[in-house]
C-alpha cells in the first residue's frame, strides 16, 4: 500500500497525543472485555444449558427437598428419557472464602445426563468403587493444587461435621464455557451419614427429554403429576432455571450495558475531539494534498483511516489485556466460575472499537474532504 507511510507518519506526529488516544481505546476496550467476562460469568449458565434438560424443584423453594421416590415416577412420564438428582452440599474447604459448588450426585444417572463433562473411564470407575470418593473439575483441582488420590476434608454447614473425601477423578469440559469448578460426591454417602434428617430426600431432579420441542409440555405434565401432593414441583427448562438465578442478582445485563454505553460515549467524545484537533492542525497540509491532485475523497479516507488505525491498535491492546486476564482464571476465589472472554465478545469489542473510531473520525474527515484549498492555504 503506497499510502502507508502517510498514515504511519501522521500517527507519530504527536506521539504523546497518539499514545493517550491509543490508551483511551485500550482502557475502554479492556473495560469492555472485563464487563463481557462478568456478564458472561452471570449468564454463562444460560449459554451452556442443555436444551433437552428440565430442572424439577420443590414448588415452595429450591432449598426445600423432594422425595427420592419421585425418580421412578418421573421416569414413567412419556417423553422423558432419563432422570437424575442433585443435592446442594454447601460445605467449606479450609476457609469460607474458598467457595465452590459441591453436589451429592446419583452415580448411576449423572454421567450420562451431562455428556459435556469428560471423565477418564478408569477414574470414574475408581470413584464409583470408593464410598468416600469424589470428582473435581479441572479448574477447581488446579485452583487448590489437588491431584487424584488426595484426601479432601470439607466442613459441612447444612450437613454438620467434617466430611472426608478421596479425590478419585478430575473432569474437564468439552467446551471452554463448561463449568469445571464443581465438586461431586456420592449421594449414597450423604444419605448414609444423614440417614435421619435427609433420608429419602433429594435437592432437585434433572430430567432429559427425548425431544426438546416437547420440553414445555413435559414440564407441565410433571407439575400436574405432583400437584396437590405434599411435595409439589415447579419444572423449568435448564435455561430458565439458570436465568432465575441470574435474575436474583438484579438486571446485571442492563447494568453492564449501561456502564459500557457510558464508557463508549465518553470515548467517542475524547477520540472525536482528538481527531478534530489533529485535522485542524494539519489543515494547510491537507490543502496542499488537494492542491497537488489528491481528491477530497482521498483526504476524507486518509483521516478516517487514521482514526480507524488508532481505534484498532488501542482497542486491540485492550482486548488482548482482557483476554490475558481471563486466561489467569477467576480472581474472585470462586464467585465467578465462568471467568471467560468468549470470541463473540472479542469480535463485538473489535466492531465497537472500529465503530467508535469511524464515528470519531468521520466528521473531521468530512470537513477535511470538503476543504477549499484556497481558504485553507490562506490560514496561517
Amino acid at each position: 500500500m503506497k499510502y502507508r507511510h502517510l498514515i504511519i507518519a501522521n500517527l507519530f506526529r504527536k506521539k504523546i497525543r497518539t499514545t493517550l488516544t491509543l490508551g483511551s481505546f485500550a482502557v475502554a476496550l479492556f473495560l469492555f472485555g472485563l464487563l463481557a467476562i462478568v456478564r458472561g460469568a452471570f449468564s454463562q449458565g444460560l449459554e451452556v444449558a442443555g436444551s433437552d434438560r428440565l430442572v424439577v424443584v420443590n414448588k415452595v423453594s429450591i432449598i426445600q427437598p423432594l422425595p427420592v421416590a419421585y425418580q421412578q415416577r418421573l421416569e414413567r412420564i412419556p417423553g422423558i428419557k432419563e432422570v437424575t438428582h442433585n443435592n446442594w452440599f454447601g460445605g467449606i474447604y479450609q476457609d469460607p472464602k474458598n467457595f465452590f459448588a459441591q453436589f451429592a450426585i446419583d452415580d448411576d444417572t449423572f454421567h450420562s445426563m451431562y455428556p459435556e463433562f469428560v471423565i477418564p473411564g478408569d477414574q470414574w470407575q475408581s470413584y464409583k468403587q470408593d464410598r468416600e470418593g469424589a470428582v473435581a473439575g479441572i479448574k477447581l483441582a488446579q485452583r487448590f493444587g489437588w491431584k487424584v488420590g488426595d484426601r479432601i476434608p470439607i466442613k459441612g454447614t447444612i450437613f454438620p461435621g467434617t466430611w472426608e473425601f478421596n479425590l478419585r477423578a478430575i473432569y474437564s469440559g468439552r467446551r471452554p464455557a463448561d463449568d469445571t469448578n464443581q465438586f461431586w460426591f456420592h449421594y449414597k454417602y450423604l444419605e448414609e451419614r444423614e440417614n435421619t434428617y435427609w433420608h429419602g430426600l433429594v435437592g432437585w431432579y434433572v430430567v432429559k427429554v427425548n425431544n426438546p420441542d416437547d420440553a414445555v409440555k413435559i414440564a407441565k405434565t410433571i407439575d400436574t403429576t405432583f400437584a396437590n401432593s405434599p411435595w409439589e414441583t415447579k419444572t423449568d427448562t435448564e435455561k430458565a432455571f439458570a436465568a432465575s438465578f441470574v435474575k436474583q442478582m438484579g438486571n446485571i445485563s442492563f447494568l453492564i450495558m449501561s456502564i459500557g454505553a457510558v464508557v463508549f460515549f465518553t470515548l467517542l467524545l475524547v477520540a472525536g475531539n482528538t481527531m478534530a484537533i489533529a485535522v485542524r492542525e494539519r489543515i494547510r497540509e491537507l490543502a496542499v494534498l488537494k492542491a497537488v491532485g489528491f481528491s477530497g475523497n482521498f483526504v476524507l479516507l486518509l483521516v478516517v483511516f487514521e482514526s480507524l488505525v488508532v481505534a484498532a491498535l488501542g482497542g486491540g491492546v485492550g482486548l488482548v489485556l482482557a483476554k490475558l486476564l481471563s486466561l489467569r482464571g477467576d480472581p474472585t476465589g470462586g464467585l465467578l466460575p465462568f471467568f471467560y472472554l468468549p470470541p463473540q465478545a472479542v469480535a463485538a469489542g473489535a466492531v465497537l472499537a472500529l465503530g467508535v473510531g469511524l464515528a470519531a473520525g468521520i466528521w473531521p474527515a468530512y470537513s477535511a474532504g470538503r476543504l477549499r484549498v484556497v481558504d485553507a492555504l490562506r490560514r496561517v
Binding site: K2, A9, N10, R284, E285, V292, G293, S295, G296, V374
Partner: protein, 245 residues
C-alpha cells in the same frame, strides 16, 4: 509570447478570456478581476506584480484550478478548465500544475523524498520508477544528498527547493509560483530564482510567478502588472515589451 489584449491565437498554452472574479464580503461585493485576457506560450516565464489585494494570488489560483471564476474562460493546453467539476479539476491539476508556495507547505512528518514523491502516488508508476523520478527531481534542485532529511532539518532555501522538486517531479504542464522567495533571505531567494531560471531555460518549463520582489520579477521574460483587477504589461529594464526577450 505573452499577450494581455486577447489577441493571442489558439496555439497559446494558457489562454484566458474575459475573466471575472467577484467575492461577496458581507453585503459588499469585491470585484477582484475584471474582464482579464491573457495568452501565455509554452516555455514562457511570466511574473505578475501588483499591490496587495490586486488579485495576483486570485489569478494564480484560478489558473491552477484551485478556484472558479465568476465569469470567463481559462484554457490550458486545449482543456477548458472553468467548466470542469471538482473531481475532474483535481485530476487535471495533478497532471498539469506544479505549485510552489511562499510557505513551502511541505509535510513536516515526511522526509524530503516522501514529500517529493506525493504527486507521483497519484500515478501508475511503480515504486522503483517513482524512486527514480524523485531522485532525479531532488538532484535537479541540488538536494540529492538531503533526500532523507525532514523539513525541520533543512534551511528555508532548502525547503523551498524540496517544494520545487515536488512541483516538477510529475513533469506538469506549467509551474505556478506564489511568492516563492517571500520567506527567504536575499541569497537564498537568488538561489531559488536561479533554479527557476534553469527550469525554464534548460527544461523548457512554463512558469507563472507572483511576487512583490522586483529582483525576482526581473528574472521573468515578461512582467505583468495587476492593479484593481486589470492586467497591464509592464516594461522591465532590458526587456522587449510584450514577450520573451
Amino acid at each position: 509570447m505573452v499577450r494581455v489584449d486577447g489577441s493571442g491565437n489558439g496555439s497559446s498554452l494558457v489562454r484566458v478570456r474575459g475573466l471575472d472574479k467577484k467575492y461577496q464580503r458581507g453585503s459588499e461585493e469585491i470585484h477582484v478581476l475584471q474582464g482579464l485576457n491573457l495568452d501565455v506560450d509554452q516555455g514562457d516565464f511570466v511574473a505578475f506584480m501588483g499591490p496587495s489585494g490586486s488579485g495576483k494570488t486570485t489569478l494564480l489560483n484560478l489558473l491552477g484550478g484551485l478556484d472558479l471564476p465568476t465569469r470567463g474562460t481559462i484554457t490550458v493546453a486545449g482543456d477548458e478548465i472553468t467548466h470542469l467539476s471538482g473531481g475532474k479539476l483535481t485530476t487535471w491539476r495533478a497532471r498539469h500544475v506544479g505549485f510552489i508556495f511562499q510557505m513551502y507547505n511541505l509535510i513536516p512528518v515526511l522526509t524530503a523524498f516522501q514529500n517529493v514523491e506525493l504527486p507521483l502516488l497519484l500515478t501508475r508508476l511503480s515504486k522503483s520508477e517513482r524512486k527514480q523520478h524523485v531522485e532525479t527531481a531532488l538532484q535537479v534542485v541540488g538536494l540529492g544528498d538531503r533526500m532523507h532529511h525532514y523539513p525541520r532539518q533543512l534551511s528555508g532555501g532548502q525547503e523551498q527547493r524540496v517544494a520545487i522538486a515536488r512541483a516538477i517531479v510529475a513533469d506538469p504542464t506549467f509551474l505556478l509560483c506564489d511568492e516563492p522567495t517571500g520567506d527567504l533571505d536575499r541569497k537564498s531567494a537568488d538561489e531559488i530564482m536561479d533554479l527557476i531560471d534553469r527550469l525554464v531555460a534548460e527544461h523548457g518549463k512554463t512558469v507563472l510567478l507572483v511576487t512583490h520582489d522586483p529582483v525576482a520579477a526581473a528574472r521573468a521574460h515578461t512582467l505583468l502588472h495587476l492593479d484593481k483587477g486589470v492586467l497591464v504589461e509592464a516594461h522591465k529594464a532590458g526587456s522587449t515589451a510584450g514577450g520573451r526577450n
